[in-house]
Symmetry: C2
Amino acid sequence: MPHSRRIDAAVMGALNAAQGGAAPKKLADALSYACLPGGARIRPTILLAVAAACGDDRPALSDAAAAALELIHCASLVHDDLPCFDDADTRRGKPSVHRAYSEPLAVLAGDSLIIMAFEVLGRAAAEDEARAAQLVLSLARRTGMPFGICAGQGWESEAEIDLAAYHRSKTGALFIAATEMGAIAAGHEAEPWRDLGALIGEAFQVADDLRDAVLDADTLGKPVGQDDLHGRPNAVAAYGVDGAVARLRDILAGAIASIPSCPGEAALAEMVQMQAKAIMPKIPARYRV
Amino acid sequence: MPHSRRIDAAVMGALNAAQGGAAPKKLADALSYACLPGGARIRPTILLAVAAACGDDRPALSDAAAAALELIHCASLVHDDLPCFDDADTRRGKPSVHRAYSEPLAVLAGDSLIIMAFEVLGRAAAEDEARAAQLVLSLARRTGMPFGICAGQGWESEAEIDLAAYHRSKTGALFIAATEMGAIAAGHEAEPWRDLGALIGEAFQVADDLRDAVLDADTLGKPVGQDDLHGRPNAVAAYGVDGAVARLRDILAGAIASIPSCPGEAALAEMVQMQAKAIMPKIPARYRV
């Protein structure tokens, strides 16, 4: 089964479990609204690609890990869009969750998706208790404090930002989770896979900065110029458009070079190449020098 | 070691882990602010009492379970106090987290505490992987959708409320988690302990309704009359003050009767009796008939 279908099936399975019994309907609907239709599902795709490269001997565990990671990502988008953060009216070309439902339901939807992610891993312990426990730990560390995406968002409330820690946690953390969890699900050590995740995360951050700076809102499907508006540090402000494009190419080359030796090394390198092409934004002519 | 010191040590341990490395300071501070000094720590106290009644053969696992449960409870208070929910200015006699820090930091603190709870359980898997996985599942089910405290809060956004489901999830769920997780941590089946948790939860709900209706804000340490203000269903509106007091006594008697046969049954019954006395609010003379 292709990765995208495995991810969809695993996310749908988790969402269906949350609808069971006498669930409050609006909140149940908001959970599905936040996750479907999916975005690029890039983090779980990387996770399954790493699991495949490591042999993927427990596919049900890899699927659970992929779903858990995607649920956390969707939760983070719902909370990031809240009025007290980005105050975003749209996401993936439709109203953001707090706009479509309400602010209370958006807070609760984010909370519920975070919890659901860990519930999915708890259920998957039936496959392998030791690996499931490691997956819980990896996901929690890359999501919470002091190194996860919560920490990344938390940096935006500091008067002085530790830029390296900010980027590593805000965007990098869930990509590190993707490579770590893919390896763990397939019974491999997580540590050698950390650099690959960190570098892919860095690449996505630079690509995102480029998109935010040069694309229009219709193409992007969400408000643009948010980094400048909120005074957030970004690669385009630091290096210019051309410099940021060059930096993005360098990081991706480093990512491919960092892939640990494993049965599916060549296929994984090819997949990262493909993702690299996919994330490179088409720079409008007016920005070319 | 008395239960209260075990709980404090376990919660402190979890909070200290979140301060490590280059953590954003305000968010790290907000986490401690939300959990310290603690309230009555009633849920983890029940958890440890049930674990003790079941033999408590892995105390480190029980401590982790107690800390995880308390962290989730504190997270729920931080999010419940947000402007879009109760808009509470104070909590436990000091400014609520969003008042003391900011709304973004309160959202992130709640998120981080939820994640920290599961991280604590992930680390405790070193004690016993199978029990840790069951603890993750129990905590997630009693916290998220469709049966946990998120579902309970979600009911408040519905035009028609399923009252039984509302109370069971909003207040009951974490008490069910307390008895389930205490049993699981000590290697016992969770299911026979569910009724005890549900009945204690019901008792606390009625006691809380009584306090909200009859005490003043200084005594309570938070705004009063919130149920009436937000049009929330409550036992005093349904049965009157005297009726609610009688109902509270009945529920507590049922709770003690529901305790499963176990090595520490008598001591546990005594502890529930003591808690029952502690939660019964002193009804001001003007409410007595």
